[in-house]
Each structure stands twice: as C-alpha cells, then as structure tokens.
C-alpha cells in the first residue's frame, strides 16, 4: 500500500512539477507533510537544507529521503523512479512533436504566462515553512532569533547573491552557539 502511495504521489509531482526544483517544493510539501504526514515540517526544512548542501536535484533528494523513511531502501528507489517516470515517457513524445521545430511560440508564451504563478508557488512553499515548529512561538527567544536569521539571510541572498551553502553554514554555527 505504501509503495502504491509513493508511486502515485511522486508520479503526480513529476507530471505537475513545472519551473524547476523550488517550484516542486510546495507540491512535495503538500503531499508529504500535509496530506500523508510522512515527514514533519521541521524534517522537511532540514532535508531542504541538506539538499542545498549536497549535489544533485533537490526533488530527487527529497524523493529518496521520503521513500527511505517510509518504506526503506526499496521505497527510496521506487519514489525516485516514480518522479522520473513521467519524464521518461515524455521524452519520446516531445522528441517526435517538438524537437524538430525550433521554439514553438504557443509553448513559449504559455510558459511566460505561467512564470508569475510559479513564483507564487515557490513563495507559498517558503511561507508554509514559516511556522511555530521552524520559527518558535511568539515572544520566545527562538522566534526573535529565527526572524533575525531569516531576514539577514534573505537580504544577503536577494540583494547580494550570497552563496546559499555559506549562509546555511553560518546559520548553523549561530544556532549551535546561541541555543
């Protein structure tokens, strides 16, 4: 049963995952944390951090981890395979349909129009992680510190394009010494 659920969930994510790894986060989060509770919200945040620091696609990393924690080694392979399956099927159709034509204007315009929605999708994934479990409750020391770290990391990343791994390491060191 768990195998079928993993298969279904990650095929769905593979089909609907437009716009790269970050855009898939809210899909994965919704299924894995909210719907099936295979992972807690803190575990999800931790895995995203680990994915940032290790090579490889973030969605494959999450699929492997979720599969492993819910159904062991077999589950990890199954979840990763399920995530790739729609791509594998699509290769053959797309190569026949589109590869010969350079830049289909209909497809280009669809994607351009989709972009704002994808940005919203990514933003929602971030907001969903801004909760009591990850940030502490109102008035606690952890809450003030979390808001501070989040704000500083945001400024460093958005305005100064700081290296994400460096930011994670610095935040980890701060956490280690302050808490």
């Amino acid at each position: 049963m768990i195998y079928l659920q993993l298969l279904w969930v990650f095929i769905k994510i593979g089909v609907l995952g437009f716009g790269g790894g970050y855009a898939m986060l809210s899909l994965i989060q919704h299924e894995v944390v909210d719907n099936y509770a295979w992972m807690s919200t803190t575990e999800f945040a931790d895995m995203v951090a680990i994915s940032q620091m290790t090579p490889g696609p973030i969605s494959i990393n999450l699929a492997t981890y979720v599969g492993y924690t819910t159904a062991g080694f077999g589950g990890s392979l199954l979840a990763s395979f399920a995530l790739c399956l729609p791509s594998i099927i699509m290769v053959y159709f797309i190569i026949r349909l589109f590869m010969k034509k350079k830049g289909n204007p209909l497809m280009d315009n669809t994607l351009k129009a989709l972009k704002p929605a994808i940005a919203g999708l990514i933003f929602a994934a971030g907001l969903n992680m801004m909760n009591v479990q990850n940030f502490g409750s109102w008035g606690e020391l952890q809450n003030y510190l979390s808001i501070g770290i989040c704000g500083a990391a945001f400024v460093a990343s958005y305005f100064f394009k700081a290296n994400p791994i460096l930011l994670i390491v610095i935040s980890g060191i701060i956490g280690c010494f302050v808490y």
């Binding site: 990763s80 729609p86 791509s87 209909l106 929605a117 940030f135 989040c150």
Partner: protein
C-alpha cells in the same frame, strides 16, 4: 555501447559534483557534450535546452534524457539518466541513515534550529527575483498573490493551482498568438 558508458560517466560526474541546482549544471553539461566530446554543436544544444526548460519534472533528469537520447538512442537516455540520479540517491541514502541516528542529539538540533529560518529565506529570495524578472504590473501582480493566497492561506492543493494556471496560461498564449497573426495580415 562506448558512447552510453561515456554518457553515464559524464552525467555521473556532473550529478556528483554540481552544487546549486539544475541551472548550475548546464555549463558543465555543455562543456562535456559540446566542447570536449563534440557530440552536438552549441546551437543544437541550446535549442534543446530551450525545449527542456519548458517541460515538467526534474530538470537534470530531463536534460540527461534528451541529451542521452540524441546521442545514443534509448540506451543513451537510460545511461545518462542513471548517471544523473545515482550520485544523489547514494548520498541521500547514506545521509538518511546517519541523520536518523543523530537527529535527536542536542547539538544537531541546535544547529538545525539555526538553519531552518535560513532555508525559508533561501526559498523566498528566488521567488521574489522571479517576480521581478516577470515584470508584473498591478493587474498581473494578482497572479502570484492569488497563488500564494490559495496555497498558503486556503491550503488548496498546489496540484489544482498549477493545472488552473496552465490552462489559463495556455488560453492566454492562444489569444496572444491570434493577435500577432492578425497584425501580420495587412
């Protein structure tokens, strides 16, 4: 067969050493496939990437599949895809066993308490950069706001939101294309 093995090795190396997501790996793929092995020329490569970017799914996997297929057919596609994902799967499996064991250690918990808010910032920043590059006006700004509202506030499944957005974008693209065609006719 030799080509497939080389494809596997190339994508394995990229999968094992490229940090920073799908787009960071593109220049490495180009270097290997176009400059060194000369399997395809740069123009064809970037045309392919333009199509691949518009597809759903894992970008690195899609790239591996298409490049692999172009160079050595089905065998090449499978070899390149396995090369791209095996390093990730191996690393995460190793880390997952370790992480499960040490997760509850107070030091580890303290470190991650610091990291979690940073992760949130690292997700919010690129989404705002996307909004900026999409050059929204006050009318189109409703789209990302509505998306956030539906997913975050109403807890509607992102799947439905994406399907709705795709249908909407597609209709809009048809409309735009018609307008362009009308302008072309004198």
């Amino acid at each position: 067969m030799k080509k497939s093995l080389q494809l596997f090795a190339t994508f394995f190396k990229i999968g094992a050493f490229t940090l920073g997501g799908g787009y960071a790996m593109l220049s490495m793929v180009e270097k290997a496939v176009v400059d060194q092995k000369k399997w395809i020329d740069a123009d064809e490569f970037w045309d392919m990437i333009a199509v691949i970017q518009s597809l759903p799914g894992v970008f690195a996997v899609n790239t591996a599949l298409y490049v692999g297929h172009r160079i050595d057919g089905t065998r090449g596609a499978v070899a390149a895809m396995l090369g791209a994902i095996i390093p990730s799967i191996t690393i995460i499996l190793l880390l997952a066993t370790v992480f499960h064991e040490y997760r509850d250690l107070p030091v580890v918990e303290r470190i991650f308490k610091g990291i979690r808010p940073c992760v949130v910032a690292l997700i919010l920043a690129p989404s705002l950069r996307m909004v900026k590059s999409a050059k929204l006006n006050w009318k189109t700004a409703i789209i990302p706001l509505a998306t956030v509202f539906l997913i975050w506030w109403c807890k509607i499944s992102p799947a439905y939101v994406i399907i709705t957005a795709i249908v909407g974008s597609f209709c809009y693209a048809i409309y735009i294309n018609r307008c362009v065609k009308k302008e072309d006719k004198p």
